[in-house]
Symmetry: C2
């Protein structure tokens, strides 16, 4: 690279000051010198000054982004830590990556489909961009039975994150968005990239022209909607990443009513719905009238360990209309056909197996395992006197460290226990003072991490 960035590796920087990754290979690969560099220097080499530059102006929206995408940044810090402590047994309860093997009933189906592609009868090329019909049908009957969602309302994807970005392309730059604060960073970042926002306001740690709907212990992690000025699009994740809070039926009903009153569209991210223990709604379409105001995006990632296999889906009901009466689903379909070519047929075979009776049972077992991890983590922090939230309906535990910087706590935990967590402020200013601890991990690692937490905070 012709411009050399020597980046700080200080782990005590605050969230808004954390820096763009210096390497493209952010996950698991570090290509920069790490030791004892503690000041940010941008050094232009002699070639850089004479290097050929095209005449193409950089997209100003890209320039608005403040930092590397959160999880690669955490991976970078993890790698830097490993360089500093090469013998440390680092445990990752950070990125929210699944760790348990995929049940065989599911991998058998993917293996079979792979082999079938070598036969004349079993070979298939381009599939429907919207997904294979049997999978769409199985999704409709498994998750939306009696909710009035039909199989042609369901678009199969390579994951919820990818569909969030495709939804942003559908809406374009002239919409105003609202997000829970804290929330999954892809909502805000994709909004910035699409040009929906103003500049980043350093003083409040927010982008201009986004409504940040504060969710905290005081309001039961459900925003005070009366204080929100009208948004076009509301990203709402329930059970929530990172707080672990699932909205109640009353709260979701309020949200749907708010959307209707304001003519807004809710994008309901239900990627953790199968982790719900009690009676809270698993789908926003359980709320009457939601089909006219809501989209729902979901994923096999955290149900079947498909974080690497890549499979998700998005429901865009045909009843959802733009202000001119044009169906949103028609534009989403156009984007799916133009910017995407369908999920891998092998992954789709796996998805179909997930929804068989044996597959569903196997998925529930894996989810049950992670929920036991959640209990262990919650009990640990609880026993240490921390206020602990989430956990019950989600694989995330949201631990309060009042008055402290999240990145400081993240760094302290990493330095002293070799456990990677996620700093709450990485999810927005409303996450400051919290740490998200993920329950995805082998049991012995979760137990060991909890032992170390008890050492550190006893």
């Amino acid at each position: 690279m012709s411009i050399t960035h020597s980046l700080t590796t200080s782990l005590s920087s605050s969230s808004s000051a954390f820096l763009a990754p210096s390497s493209f290979n952010s996950r698991g690969q570090v290509s920069l010198p790490v030791k004892s560099v503690s000041i940010c220097k941008c050094v232009a080499t002699p070639e850089a000054e004479t290097a050929y530059k095209t005449g193409v102006t950089r997209n100003p929206n890209m320039g608005k982004l403040q930092a590397g995408y959160l999880f690669p940044e955490i991976a970078r810090r993890r790698s830097a830590h490993l360089l500093k402590y090469p013998d440390a047994k680092v445990i990752s309860l950070g990125i929210g990556d699944t760790t348990e093997p995929i049940p065989e009933v599911i991998t058998d189906a993917m293996s079979k489909r792979s082999h079938a592609l070598s036969t004349i009868e079993g070979y298939s090329g381009y599939g429907a961009e919207q997904g294979e019909k049997p999978l769409r049908r199985a999704l409709a009957s498994t998750f939306y039975s009696d909710l009035g969602i039909e199989e042609d309302d369901i678009f199969v994807s390579d994951g919820a994150k990818c569909d969030i970005s495709r939804l942003q392309i559908v809406f374009g730059s002239n919409v105003k968005m609202a997000v829970q604060d804290p929330s999954y960073p892809a909502y805000v970042d994709s909004s910035v990239i699409m040009g929906q926002t103003g500049l980043y306001q350093k003083d409040v740690e927010k982008f201009a022209n986004i409504e940040y709907m504060r969710c905290n212990p005081e309001n039961g992690f459900f925003p005070d909607l009366s204080s929100i000025s009208r948004p076009d699009i509301i990203f709402f994740c329930s059970p929530n990443n990172p707080t672990g809070a699932a909205a109640t039926r009353e709260q979701l009903t309020q949200l749907v009513q708010f959307a209707k009153d304001n003519g807004s569209i809710v994008i309901h991210d239900s990627a953790y719905a199968m982790y719900i223990s009690g009676d809270n709604p698993r789908s926003i379409f359980e709320i009457p009238g939601a089909k006219e105001v809501a989209i729902e995006t979901s994923s096999f990632s955290k149900y079947a360990g498909f974080t690497g296999v890549r499979l998700g889906w998005t429901v865009v009901p045909k009843q959802l209309l733009f202000s001119d009466g044009f169906p949103v689903a028609k534009d989403f379909n156009r984007i799916v056909c133009t910017c995407f070519n369908g999920a891998s047929n092998i992954s789709q075979a796996g998805g179909l197996a997930c929804l068989s009776p044996d597959g569903l049972k196997a998925m529930r077992d894996v989810i049950g395992f992670y929920k036991e991890n959640t209990d262990i983590i919650m009990e640990t922090f609880d026993s240490l006197g921390f206020k602990v939230y989430g956990g019950k309906d989600a694989p995330y535990v949201w631990v309060h460290f009042p008055g402290r910087s999240s990145w400081d706590v993240f760094a302290e935990i990493l330095e002293k226990t070799h456990v990677v967590t996620t700093p709450g402020s990485g999810f927005g200013p409303g996450g400051e003072g919290f740490i998200r601890v993920s329950a995805f991990g082998h049991r012995e690692n979760v137990l060991e991490a909890c032992r170390r937490f008890k050492q550190l905070y006893k």
Copy 2:
């Protein structure tokens, strides 16, 4: 759906008049009445008039799009034809979909990876968004050895079409694009969607603010660059889809020089490079200086039959800089991390097997088979007195029907021979008067289609 569109199914409409698909399930599913409807009617049902509408304004860029994406539209017409002639043996030489089984050396690797995901040792979750290191390394050494492209310049994707769209997100709305005319429709459509263009100009069948670089027999299918006003981004596909023409070394050198003179960036789509028979460059990076002005996108789809498996890659050299010196690769990496989560790990295992010595041999055998098909199709049309282009370096044959509408010829061939082709004007106004015949097909189908062509045009 609350608005009922009864769409014309006349097969004689001209390219610019072809209509948006009436069904979301465009491939292989038709949900509209087809018989004897020949006038376009938009009938609002009573519910439609009273249906709830959100207050969200439809993205005006979506409204600019003139028609359904080309290939779903063709699939729709194919389905309509099947409804009309339920007993016809329809042969598809249209959409460019691979038909031959994937060699076992490749599916074995995918099957093995699937099974490994069921084991503690073999399980993996999120991979690097940019792709697995061994695959990036193998791509670099297989296709870019001695060209100065390094493995960290290569981003693995779920296909070239998806990366084209991600590249458009990187560039944003304030760039001016140039495309070969005719060309693969995703370039123009994604440009419209991103807001880079003006409205569609019906008289010339072009969008405003795109440079259409005419490629025809007269100029040897290489544009007259002296007539092009400065574009920011030049999409250049070689070997070309649909014309089948591969640029020579001199032509690509001219293109690189043109980009350098104008400060433009070339996006070189090399998805058919392995079909090149002679000495034409397989990669734009064979041209000195190209790393400072070019991106290259490619795919396993047409090499290994991965149209359904989904795997491709894009090379963004670190030497490629925006006008302010910021590396394009850094912004592309940010998009890959924020809007994508990596290609399926199972597909990547298949990709790695493709690049093993046995895999490469197997891919070359499949490509050789399709190239024999190409010869058969070329000889057929040649023997019937047509001017035939392409074929030598690409799996597409570009047949000239001077003075005739492409959609008329498409409809005539479908109606009289039950063979699906692709109308040239679907690729841009420069394709008018041509038909693209794809060489992807089982041998007996290609031979049978050619027999029928000989019947029709004897």
